[in-house]
Assembly symmetry: C2
Amino acid sequence: MNAPIDFFFDFSSPYSYIANEWIDAVAARHGRTVRRRAILLGATFQVAELKSPVAYPMKREYSLRDFERSARFEGLPYALPPVFPIPTHNAARVFWWLADTQGEVAAAAWARAGLRAVFTRGVQLQDAAALKALATEQGLDADEAEGVWSNPVWKARLKHANDEAIAAGIFGAPWFIVDGEPFWGNDRKPQIERWLASGPF
Amino acid sequence: MNAPIDFFFDFSSPYSYIANEWIDAVAARHGRTVRRRAILLGATFQVAELKSPVAYPMKREYSLRDFERSARFEGLPYALPPVFPIPTHNAARVFWWLADTQGEVAAAAWARAGLRAVFTRGVQLQDAAALKALATEQGLDADEAEGVWSNPVWKARLKHANDEAIAAGIFGAPWFIVDGEPFWGNDRKPQIERWLASGPF
């Protein structure tokens, strides 16, 4: 029995979107499952004293170009949303509600739908109406979803997930843990592939 | 005639060391030459309002692990130097002196020797005696090398190289420019390889 791959992501992370389209197939090829974990980069950045790459003018210019090119490199559709980055608390709370009450498959479907909505259609997940519409599209009850993201229980669940991530040394996304080994970034795919294929190197 | 690949590096950058061991072979496979450019990350970081990844405690821990793993991934020897990062002004001035007076081959040999010295033997290039010893090992006149790094002409040459890099939007290393396209980081190798093989994507 191989350990699952832990995959930490933020709904507002372009590289998380790209890696999320890849992780299931590579896991399956190597007899692994994926355990997704929605986090808030804002929380990890604060503790790690970091900022988004787009918060620095010079890095921003390169990063916007690299987001797009990295998506093209994988053959994925991509468009920078009109507001970026966006707060993703509510989408992440819905994720944890699905993960804890319906399981990994439902949570993974929500993750995929949310990331695709942001990075291919510019859906602003911080907007309650847009998020409710996405919930409906995904076959969820929109009012129930809104009840979830307003509920202290699911707020606490997300906070717990962030705290766990921070305690594990995680400060960015996507972040993978494979057999205890941490890999940060969509660009660590080649290293992850080798690890999955032939073990520690 | 294909344009040369511009390769910007800092002698104190582990990912520059790793990429420097790769760039010549990949360039040759695709009928390209490499034009190396020694820069000081300290100068680019200041303008870009960035800091070294090892300046942030959480990022430091991951980065030190990733430097080592990324070298192992390529089958390269690697050891974190006893002091890190180090000032690399003098080594970079010698680089520019060689580039301008002897040409690319001599400068590339110095780049390789310097990066290997730092990241396989812990040579402290900021130390005059250590840098003179390295110059001697490389068949240079150590006193002449010392004269170079103390000379306002070569100080100005390095400053000019930094200013040019900053004007081109460069804030990190290794940094590659291929046909005008900027690629930042050792982890952009797969994208660079595809670009070289089949052009813009």
